[in-house]
Symmetry: C2
Subunit: 389 residues, 2 copies
C-alpha cells in the first residue's frame, strides 16, 4: 500500500506502534525484565488482504471443525489407538489422566472448547488448514485490538472513510466471544452456586498476559476470576469438596468454589516443569468444575490426528456435515515418516515442513534441515512424535 | 483503603498495572531504550480523597487565573521590570524574542493558552497554589485515563457500584478539552485555509509521548498534526510565506501551512540544546500561526511573578474578579532571598522549599539542603533565579 506523500515512515511507524500500545497490543518480555513494562507485539501496519469467500468459508467450516474435534474426543478407541503408540511422554501422561478420570467416571456435567483453526492461503486463495488448537488458543483479545489498529491506519494513512473500512474489514468480536463462552460455562455450572469463580491456570511467567487479562476484564462485571500457576495451586491451595467441587484457597484460608478452569498453560511439557504439576492437573480434571478444555478435548487436538483425517475414509467417520467436502479440501497432504518420504523431501525440501506433535510453536523444522532431522528420527525410530506435510 | 480479603497485593498490583498499561497510562524511558516498549507511569491504586469544596474552588478559580495570566502577558512594563533583572540566560533569550516580535508587530491574530494550576492541600483541606504552568502543561490525557483506572479499582477492589463511583469521582474531560482548544484555535486560524495543520514542537526524546499522542489522535478526525523537534525543523524545514504563514516541509518538498503551533518543548533551557533552536523559536513566533503558548504567555508563567502577586496591592492590579479574595488565599507565602530569610530557614528547614524559575520540575531544593544553597546564592548574588516559599 502506498503512503500519503506527506508522511515519512519513521514518524508513521512510531505513531502506529504507540497507537497499538495504547490499545494494549503488547506482550511481556520473558524472562520477565520488569513487571512495569510492556512491549509492542509485532503487527502489520495495514491488514493483509484475504479474499472474502475464503474468510466466509473459514467461518462456515468452524462448526464442522468443532463437531469433528468433539467426535474425536468422545471416541475412546480412536484416541487410544492414535495416541498410545506415540513415544511421547507428554502425551502418555495426559492420556494417563484421561484414563484415570474415565475409569472414575467423569465428574463435570459439561466441557468447554475454545478452538482456533489456523490457515495458510495457497496461491489460488484456497485455505489450507495448518492446525486446530484446542487448548490455550491465544490472541483472541489481541486480534480484536489489531482490527481497531487497522481501522485507524486505513483511515488516517490510506484515506479510507468509515464506510469503505466497514466494507473491507470484518467485524472482530473474538474477545467478546471468548469471554462470553467462559461466562456461559460459568452460568451452566453455577445456576445453584452463584458465588463460584473462574480459575485461569497460567504459566509462572507469561508473555501473553495482556491477551489473557483482557478476557478477565471483559468477564469481570459478571464473574470473578483468579490467575494461578501450578506452583501457586500446590500445597493444598486447591482441593476437592465433598461433591468434587474444586476449591481454591484465596486470601486468609477462604475456600472459593471454582466453576470453570480455563487453561492458558498445560499445553506442552514445558508447562509442567514444576514438580507437582501433573498431580494438580489430575486433581483439576477429577473435579466437577467445567474445564476449558477437558483432557479429552486437549487430546483430540493433537496434530497426530491430522494425517489420519487426511484419509477420506477415516475423515468420513467423524464428519458428516453438508460441508464435509469443503472442510476436507482445506486439509494439507500428509506423509508418514519413512525412507521414501525422506527421499521425496531431499528432492524438494522447500515444499515441506516437519512438525512436532506438541503445542506452542517453535518446534517446526523447515527446508534443508528436514532431511537431517528425518535421518536422525529414522535411525532412532522416533518417527511417531513428528509428521511431515 | 482496605482490600477485599480474597485478594493478595501481588496479584492486585499486577492487575492494576496491566489495566493502566491497557489504558495507555505509560511513558517512554529516556534515554530511549526501545521504541517498542512503554513503562507504566507511577500511579496510585486508588484515588486520593479531596474535599469536594476544594475541587469546586479549584474549578471556579481557573477562569480568574487565566485572566490574571493574560493580563500579566499584556503588561509590557510589568514583564520587563520583573524578568529583565533576572540573571537567567534562558529568560533573557525568551524576552529577546518577545521584544523582537513586539517591535515588528505581532503577526498572529490570536494566541492560545492551555494552563495547568498545581495545588497542594494543607492540613485544613485548603488549596495552596504551587505554580501555574503556561507552557507544555502535561498529563491531560494521562489523568483522564487515570480516572478510568480508578473507576475500575473502586469497582472491583472496593466493591463500589457505578452510582457510588459517580458520586465520588469527578468527570475528567481534560483530554477532550485540550484537544478541543487546539481544534478551536485551528478553526479560528483556518476559516479560509482549511488545508492547514497543527505542529507539535517536541523534544527529540520525549518520555511523555503517549500523553501527547492521545491529543493528536483525539484531534485527528478534525485536523492533521505533525510532530517535529527543533532539529527536524531546521535546514529550511520551516519557513515564512509571503503573508507570514508558517510553512512546514512535509514529504517530498510539499509545503504544509501550519495553523497552530503547540509547544511540548521549549519550556526550559534543556529544550534548546540543538544549535539553531533559538532561531527557530523566533521564526515560529514571527509567523501568523497561533502559538500555544505565545511568547508572552510563556513569560507570564514564570514563577518570579508568584512572590510579586503575593503582594495584595500588585495582585489587585491584575485581578478584579469577584472571587479575587478566594484566589489570593490560595497563594503561598513567599520570601525574598536575603540573610534574614536564610536564618529563618535555618531554624525550620522542613517548612520551606527553594524553587527555581525554570519549568520541568526537579530543580527544587528541600530541607537541610536549602541553607547551603542559600549561602551559595547569597555569596554569588544569584538570588533572583530562585525564590523561597
Amino acid at each position: 500500500m502506498e503512503l500519503d506523500k506527506r508522511f515519512n515512515w519513521t514518524h508513521v511507524e512510531d505513531d502506529i506502534r504507540l497507537y497499538a500500545l495504547s490499545l494494549g497490543i503488547s506482550f511481556r518480555q520473558i524472562p520477565m525484565d520488569d513487571r512495569r513494562s510492556m512491549h509492542c507485539l509485532p503487527v502489520t501496519a495495514f491488514p493483509t488482504p484475504l479474499h472474502k469467500s475464503a474468510f466466509q468459508l473459514a467461518n462456515n467450516l468452524q462448526p464442522s471443525i468443532n463437531e469433528l474435534i468433539h467426535k474425536i474426543s468422545t471416541n475412546h478407541q480412536f484416541l487410544e489407538q492414535t495416541l498410545l503408540k506415540l513415544p511421547d511422554e507428554f502425551v502418555a501422561k495426559l492420556f494417563n489422566i484421561y484414563e484415570t478420570v474415565t475409569k472414575e467416571g467423569y465428574a463435570a456435567s459439561h466441557q468447554l472448547g475454545i478452538f482456533r483453526s489456523d490457515y495458510m492461503i495457497d496461491e489460488h486463495q484456497n485455505l489450507k488448514q495448518v492446525e486446530v488448537n484446542t487448548i490455550s488458543s491465544g490472541l483472541c483479545a489481541m486480534t480484536q485490538q489489531v482490527t481497531k489498529l487497522h481501522r485507524y491506519t486505513l483511515k488516517y494513512y490510506q484515506g479510507l472513510d468509515d464506510d469503505q473500512i466497514d466494507r473491507h474489514i470484518a467485524v472482530n468480536k473474538s474477545l467478546e466471544h471468548t469471554a462470553q463462552s467462559l461466562i456461559d460455562a460459568h452460568l451452566i455450572y453455577s445456576s445453584n452456586a452463584s458465588s463460584s469463580a473462574i480459575l485461569f491456570v497460567v504459566q509462572e511467567q507469561e508473555a501473553n498476559v495482556m491477551d489473557q487479562k483482557m478476557i478477565e476484564w471483559k468477564m469481570k462485571p459478571f464473574v470473578q476470576s483468579f490467575r494461578r500457576s501450578f506452583r501457586e495451586l500446590d500445597n493444598g491451595n486447591i482441593s476437592l469438596g465433598p461433591n468434587k467441587q474444586l476449591l481454591l484457597t484465596v486470601g486468609n484460608e477462604m475456600k472459593q468454589e471454582i466453576s470453570v478452569v480455563y487453561f492458558r498453560a498445560a499445553y506442552s511439557s514445558s508447562c509442567f516443569r514444576y514438580e507437582n504439576s501433573w498431580k494438580l492437573r489430575l486433581l483439576i480434571e477429577q473435579s466437577r468444575a467445567i474445564k476449558c478444555p477437558s483432557i479429552q478435548l486437549q487430546l483430540a487436538g493433537f496434530k497426530q490426528f491430522q494425517p489420519l483425517l487426511s484419509d477420506r475414509t477415516i475423515f468420513d467417520r467423524f464428519c458428516c456435515h453438508p460441508n464435509a467436502d469443503q472442510l476436507y479440501d482445506t486439509f494439507a497432504k500428509f506423509y508418514t515418516i519413512s525412507p521414501s518420504s525422506r527421499d521425496m523431501v531431499a528432492e524438494n525440501s522447500s515444499g515441506f515442513v516437519l512438525k512436532s506433535n506438541q503445542e506452542g510453536g517453535g518446534n517446526n523444522v523447515f527446508g534443508e534441515q528436514i532431511v537431517a532431522k528425518l535421518d536422525e528420527m529414522l535411525n532412532q525410530n522416533e518417527k511417531d512424535a513428528h509428521f511431515l506435510m
